[in-house]
Every structure is written in C-alpha cells, then in structure tokens.
Symmetry: C2
Subunit: 123 residues, 2 copies
C-alpha cells in the first residue's frame, strides 16, 4: 500500500512536526528580519518556559538562529529562520501534503471537495 | 495574523498527530473489519513494543478498539478504528489542511502549484 510507505510518515521531521513549533516556524516565515522573543511568545500564546524549550529544539536542529539585539536594558533576543530552516520547512510541508492526500485516499474522500466542507456524520 | 490563531495548531489532536500513529490510523481507515496486530506491525515497520505503546494511546483516546479473535494458539488481536475515531481523524485532517494552507500563505507560495514541485533553492 503506497500510503504506508515507511519513508512517507518518517519524513515528517519531528523538530518541526510538534504543533507549537509548527506555529512558531509559520510565524517566522513571514518575518525576514526575525521577531523578538516577547512578540513570538504573545502571538503564539506560549509561556516563557515553553517558548524557550521549543526554540532550543529548533536552534539545535539549525532551523532558527537566536541573537541579541541592542544593549543593556533595551537588549532583547531576536529569533530568525535560517535559510536551511526554510528549506527544511518546505520539505516538511511537502511530506505533510503527501500524508494528507494518502489519508484522504484511504478514506475514499474526494480531495478536491475536502476543503469545502468536512463530511462528518451529524453528532 | 489569522494563521496564528491559537486554536488552529491547538486543534492538531496529539493522540493522532504523532507520525507512527498517523500511519496506523491511515492504514486502519481502509479496513472496515479491522486488521491483525502482526499485519499492522509489519506494514507500518514498527517493533512489538512501539506498536503496543501507540495502540495503547489510541485505545485510551477512543480512536481504536482492540479485541481477541479466535481461540487458543490461533487467537490473535484485531485492531479496528471506532466510529468516533474516524470522526476525530476527519477533524484532524481538516485542521491539518488549514495548518498547511496557513504555512503556504506565510511562505507566499502558490498553493495550487505546490503539489507539482517543491520550490527549493538549489543546494
């Protein structure tokens, strides 16, 4: 069964796949000059601890780069997507789309109709 | 920014989102009568321990139902998607699609062109 090709779901890079990190990377995509720690925190609705933990995973994977901006009391941490991170995210989204289409095929749903409405049974 | 609407990525149900569980559920979607433990194991390329662990999470979330089939040495465990599990998976896929489209928008990529080829810079 092609949808179960192991590399298909194994391609979902775990450093990106976690929902909060998915939100962080998506937000950073649109900011070529990077975004401050406090802005990211409030926009993604994360606590200091959670944001720090997720940024550490992303930094170690080479997806983001952290640097200090300004001096003294006005200094703050700026978070920026790296070129490698952007490429990794594109690869991830490509894999994600294949997984999504594989699942819709398995459910025998019409892919083209899916975005228009969720065919759920009345609950 | 609409793509950062917190509920969007929070809607990615964690019991489903894990890549191996995504593969397991996708496989079970196509089997109305369920599938044996050994078949699932080999088709999804998982070890006994990993499969057991993931099935436990899915069973506790009400997504699958496990039952014994046959007696004595011929008995085996059969795994089946529950009606609630199928609905939860549809909701998950719907959220996943929104996340994917949000990310493509943030990257300013043409959604319609994305499946045709991954616009990566030459590396």
């Amino acid at each position: 069964m092609e949808i179960l090709n192991k590399p298909l779901w194994n391609d979902l890079e775990k450093s990106i796949h976690e929902p909060a990190r998915l939100a962080l990377i998506t937000r950073l995509c649109a900011e070529k000059d990077g975004l401050g720690f406090q802005d990211l925190k409030s926009e993604c609705g994360l606590t200091d601890g959670n944001l720090s933990r997720h940024l550490k995973v992303l930094e170690e994977a080479g997806i983001i780069h952290l640097h200090k901006v300004g001096k003294g009391r006005r200094s703050h941490t700026c978070v920026k997507l790296t070129p490698d991170g952007r490429e990794a995210f594109l690869r991830y989204l490509y894999s994600l789309e294949k997984v999504l289409h594989g699942a819709l095929d398995a459910l025998e749903l019409d892919t083209a109709e899916f975005p228009a409405g969720l065919p759920l049974a009345a609950s």
